[in-house]
Assembly symmetry: D3
Homo-oligomer: 325 residues x 6
Amino acid sequence: MWFDLSPEKLRDYRPDREEPGDFDRFWLDTLAEARTHELAATFLPFDSLLATVDVFDVTFAGYAGDPVRGWFIVPRGLPDEPLPCVVSYIGYGGGRGKPHEHLFWSAAGYANFVMDTRGQGGRGYGGGGATGDPDPVGASANDGYMTRGIESPDTYYYRRVFTDAARAIEAARSHPRVDASRIVLAGGSQGGGITLAAAGLVPDVAAALPDVPFLCHFRRATTLVDQEPYNQIGNFLRSRRDLVETAYETLSYFDGMNFAARATAPALFSTALCDQICPPSTVFAAYNHYAGPKDIKVWHFNGHEGGGPYQAEAQLEFLAKSGLR
Amino acid sequence: MWFDLSPEKLRDYRPDREEPGDFDRFWLDTLAEARTHELAATFLPFDSLLATVDVFDVTFAGYAGDPVRGWFIVPRGLPDEPLPCVVSYIGYGGGRGKPHEHLFWSAAGYANFVMDTRGQGGRGYGGGGATGDPDPVGASANDGYMTRGIESPDTYYYRRVFTDAARAIEAARSHPRVDASRIVLAGGSQGGGITLAAAGLVPDVAAALPDVPFLCHFRRATTLVDQEPYNQIGNFLRSRRDLVETAYETLSYFDGMNFAARATAPALFSTALCDQICPPSTVFAAYNHYAGPKDIKVWHFNGHEGGGPYQAEAQLEFLAKSGLR
Amino acid sequence: MWFDLSPEKLRDYRPDREEPGDFDRFWLDTLAEARTHELAATFLPFDSLLATVDVFDVTFAGYAGDPVRGWFIVPRGLPDEPLPCVVSYIGYGGGRGKPHEHLFWSAAGYANFVMDTRGQGGRGYGGGGATGDPDPVGASANDGYMTRGIESPDTYYYRRVFTDAARAIEAARSHPRVDASRIVLAGGSQGGGITLAAAGLVPDVAAALPDVPFLCHFRRATTLVDQEPYNQIGNFLRSRRDLVETAYETLSYFDGMNFAARATAPALFSTALCDQICPPSTVFAAYNHYAGPKDIKVWHFNGHEGGGPYQAEAQLEFLAKSGLR
Amino acid sequence: MWFDLSPEKLRDYRPDREEPGDFDRFWLDTLAEARTHELAATFLPFDSLLATVDVFDVTFAGYAGDPVRGWFIVPRGLPDEPLPCVVSYIGYGGGRGKPHEHLFWSAAGYANFVMDTRGQGGRGYGGGGATGDPDPVGASANDGYMTRGIESPDTYYYRRVFTDAARAIEAARSHPRVDASRIVLAGGSQGGGITLAAAGLVPDVAAALPDVPFLCHFRRATTLVDQEPYNQIGNFLRSRRDLVETAYETLSYFDGMNFAARATAPALFSTALCDQICPPSTVFAAYNHYAGPKDIKVWHFNGHEGGGPYQAEAQLEFLAKSGLR
Amino acid sequence: MWFDLSPEKLRDYRPDREEPGDFDRFWLDTLAEARTHELAATFLPFDSLLATVDVFDVTFAGYAGDPVRGWFIVPRGLPDEPLPCVVSYIGYGGGRGKPHEHLFWSAAGYANFVMDTRGQGGRGYGGGGATGDPDPVGASANDGYMTRGIESPDTYYYRRVFTDAARAIEAARSHPRVDASRIVLAGGSQGGGITLAAAGLVPDVAAALPDVPFLCHFRRATTLVDQEPYNQIGNFLRSRRDLVETAYETLSYFDGMNFAARATAPALFSTALCDQICPPSTVFAAYNHYAGPKDIKVWHFNGHEGGGPYQAEAQLEFLAKSGLR
Amino acid sequence: MWFDLSPEKLRDYRPDREEPGDFDRFWLDTLAEARTHELAATFLPFDSLLATVDVFDVTFAGYAGDPVRGWFIVPRGLPDEPLPCVVSYIGYGGGRGKPHEHLFWSAAGYANFVMDTRGQGGRGYGGGGATGDPDPVGASANDGYMTRGIESPDTYYYRRVFTDAARAIEAARSHPRVDASRIVLAGGSQGGGITLAAAGLVPDVAAALPDVPFLCHFRRATTLVDQEPYNQIGNFLRSRRDLVETAYETLSYFDGMNFAARATAPALFSTALCDQICPPSTVFAAYNHYAGPKDIKVWHFNGHEGGGPYQAEAQLEFLAKSGLR
């Protein structure tokens, strides 16, 4: 069932961006602060029982120097030279889980750096998370992560996550098997939203693959659909009726549209016309503002699962065509 | 619809308690640590637009000295002498909201000290919360508060909340209009669970009114029902399959049954036979372990709303009969 | 989730009214007939266990002289002079319940006259009703009250209720503690719809506070949403396919838009953009036809709970600004 | 899905009956009072556009002499002599609708007298009702008919309906094409409950066909399932917590178990193991108390639709075997 | 609740048809192939226990000569001459069941030929089916019949069903009690869709009664609603993302709009404004392309049940007015 | 939420098997018939864009010689000698999809032979199916595959599937990179049920890994839960009330309990206590009858997802311990 704009209107849907005047300054300062902490990326060999990959248990310093976990997975049997590396981000509520939950990119011949999402990983799918989200404020919030600290961009949860995401790229690049000039950012849903943010914050990545991305065009998303996790914002504002505009102001620092307008790497997006979790108009809003070379796959009868294995195939082709493998 | 034990079996339902050997030590240490911070209870007059009560905006030092907010509401027009005071705790997800959300106890002639629940208050009902839950660990968790820090009793969320609850009684007693010998603890659902905890931790309160209490007999509750918020625990353990027993061990430090077995104040419980949020068997499990004089109202066709205005009436009668007003 | 007109379009949404030519005559005759019965308002002191209010159990003669029940609640401790009085009407399915379910207005310094809704009060929330709805016809109807007697305005259920509502104002004014020139009408949902009707039928009230009002713009409401209780009308017409226009003709005598066009008291409305029970366009339809001074609060992320404690606060400020206290 | 007792236990399920001491007196007086009104059965020829039946629009005096409507349908082309007649009662919320909704019994060679259910017929299925339920009390009730007047057997809705049902038999017998010694009572769900009541109240009927009967063993039904319409009772008692035992006392005058224990006509019951509307244990409770010759069809995978066309076939065979055609 | 175009826009809704160039050729060839098999219609007398009709168990050769079952029901007691005959088709998932499930048309004086739908009849309503759907390909499909063989018009399930439907008319006409010049096609939902197809394929039928017809304007239906059975198509295409256009191409050979444009018999359609199974715009799409004399009943508050007994009455009047009885 | 037997009772739950006397004969004959068709296994190299595996598009002759599709995936970079091979079967409604949906076993160092399930693969998850299910009978059935041909074991759908499964093992063994003595059978849900069947039919496999297996203890499963796909059986029998025992008789030839009693390979089962799709008691019924060495993982808070990545890890350990790698 289609519920959003028609496919024709989606193609041209390019709403005005709400962008605070100090957007760039905010992020420059935020990343600069994070970089005052040493990156301290460690890669501990991990016995995953797998035969075709080498797995490393990763820790690096993210926002505020907090330890962020991940996996680094390298295919065996390829020539011993630096590989293109996919830095992948995880969907809302998921955690890094077990290494064998992440076999696609290494099977395709890429090194794969999987970043855990702080605090998340306990939502009941996958193997769980391993990274804490220390929060010195802990403001009154809706259940879930979407409204943590939403009263100010300084305290908002995704400030920490997006900073981790930028630092994860630095951590990936620090490994000798990674070719720093061939970093690909990838992720679905929240992972797609983080991909956009990282592509906007880190200028020199080689490609971005935001798949059914979340965290785009909040003002429309929060009034168009009533599904987890966008609905956490509206649910919070059902109590805190006084904070509606404050919340949107905070969110304008984190909107995928604003990051898209700064990104320059070639990108392959996807969206699905029945996706009520990350509605297609919010994806096209980011897509149509995206400043780099771009393409988008539109799946006609899919919900939030999007193109699934078809999108994966398209991604391999896109990267091959882009000369990344 | 009844879904739990029959009314006859509920009366006798008194399961074994899982109680860690160092339960008392854990809580003694916890409260002692909290008391190293000055209570610093402040009562700022607040213009509530109301005519029959005086309202104060309260702050006091809770767990780790964190500032905890609340309301203090005193009926006008009564003789100028210390009043019995109801310290009331709030249901899951609610916040202290506006003073006029709390008019019952003052209308009945009691001073009323309403404690905000840290971090909560953004769930979409009521007027919202005002208290943060600083958390230096921020471990991977399910959405919601039930699994925050569940890997250890030291880091578990309710360690902080129950400590706040005990400190709230001290704050209430510090006000000159309160008769410290006539403290009544009250609350429904999570507020009922906190009431039990505080009644177990603070020996000299005058009465306890746990209404459809939450946070009792976790092992049964988590496998009997699949509703918010008990289900957050199971949902977390769906990812973290390795933590099932660890979680129950942590929860044994926070189970209402164990606090009930230590409480001595006269208590009026309630439970409802159709309550799938806080099932009647989990309430009777606590009730049948309660060590003080006690009574319980059983509502035959109610869900989690319980006795509602009928229970309120019964509470007034119970307190009157107990000589508290 | 928003599902109705955009906020911008709502502001200007003023559909044509369907108004029968004998609308005024119908209501003049109806009220005249009711007034052939003596009002016979009695106020029996009631022991509510409360300390800051005096409570009276009220009975007066409503439609056809039928006895209608209510509560009259007066704050203690105020100067002994006539008070402004809020006549309040109840949401669909609720009953007058217990006096302590109605503490807000007296706490704010108003006398409060609570009218029970005939036949209702058994829907499972609150403390229940106490007033019968004698019906000499008892026509075939859908479950619920919305289609009782809908085949003619003469037999329609709300003819009886709105008549009761007008008589309730007379009953309130008959009490010596009430200042008859300062009558405020208030209610949420069905109570808001009755408020509009009473404000249209009783010209000299001092203010009206229709909160998320029901019973407005039936033709749109019944085709726009499928929720209780508006959906009772469509469900009835699913059987009685022959009565569609007959039903709308009956409803045109009871539509809040038509009462609004006759009301002159200053009014504070509210509506909520996610309210699928009383959709915002049906509220604005009445608001934009309202003939007196008016304002409206629009709650962006609320459903039928509307502004809740925020709206209550706004109402106190509105009445204060209007010089009513 | 099975949710009730196992098939083996159902066979023997014969709970104690709650029967008031004046049960027989209550009904004798009730029927005697009804018979003080002339039956006044009229049969107006009705143009149904049908070719194989004659249809009559029926009115007769039911409870309190209120006019009750129905259809009388006689197959054409059979020998011109009195026919066995099926008096049929309608499921909850349905009305007599159009004659062509009732073609089964006449096609099978029976005269068919269809009784409308007072007040009902507006629930959205079928063609609607035509009979009012005048109610001089109109007590506060839940939406729907199950709790109307439930505070006393004298005012309870089904007192009026069951009286109508007994009078309907008299009306059927008054028609010259009906063989008064071959009256068959039939109906599904509420129609089955009325069948049981009429079979208990009218001693000399020739057969009874209670199909998935409603209105049996209220105490179990109201606590075992949460579906319309049994749940109306619990929903009412959720507000009126004080009336639980009063309601059951009233219902004991209307329980199918008590009528079953008085019935003597040969009966074919049915029940379905997945029926959550009229659970199988409540049907077997009546069946096992039924005092006449009896059989029951148990449908293993059906819900409230029961045996449908298979049950209809079984009924024809049962009546043929009983020598009724 | 209305969810589709407004009633005004529906009246004029006449979208372009997607019609393959070889549509007529495809069907000519298909029917020609079927007619290479002998029709072999047999009518075995069947003991239905009914008194006013004669029932025959029918078999005839459908698509590929496969045996297709049905009932032939003739009213008794009418003059012994050929009757007008209603050939009726069944809703999705139903089967021919028992003869007494089909009493309307014979009661109205028509012979009635009921065609079983191959493969269907096991969906849990009615008495079940009796006809197999031999399928030598058995391609990967969604559960249900809507996507069987959808990769090509040659293998698509409804090619077989529509061919059966045309052959059923021939079988009906082969019976001596049938007046071949007075064939009426009728059916609701899928039966309505088959009615349209047969009316387009068989030029000389006397009337068509497509009631809330299914299988019209697939492209809109599959993106407008998400209900069974239209949603089977989208669900299949959620996996087979590569087949979206292939599927629509296949469906263009089976779209009710294209058959409507070829039909010439007088037709009475129906649609219901709340019907989310066969949305009104898809019905009007076919209606507005219908090439014969036509009328349509629009039911304002009904869902897929449509006009029910009111539509049946309208159908009798329509046929009488058309001189068919 | 737990809904089935307690964990303690599950351990001992070993219900009697319903086993037809000619069970072994039926399957011997069935497999013998299939083997009259040449296996004709072909392995076409397939360009999957993957770097660490070789992929082959497989076809072999299954039941009745029908072509069955699959993937054969071999890890690159391992010593060039025969590998242990996991033959894996797919969950209900899924298809073989794309090769990169099957990366786990090859990453762990096994050859992996993935068998497509005939007719399935269009349920909307994964990449779709590629194998037809030719069916010369096509009997009336419920939507879905569970009731196809259920009137006889000869025509039942799973006769064809289980035969395919046995032939798939032969096809796998025919490839030179496979060590025929180290065949492991694996699959979840329906794949687990097929695993059990194949383990019972093919005596010399080296291990079996039935994960949350479906198709076990039909009599309990069909009455205990009401979820897809077990509920298709009850839904069919809701129409075909006459076929209840016939269906169970057919199913007794396909029950995992009966295959388990014949299997001898070491097996690692899994079940989840909240799994309402394949309830734990039905899994333990098979487990406790399993005739080979065995172990079972019980997941306390999982539904049908079972142990997910934890189970995968346990499977690797189990196989390693069994000396298979």
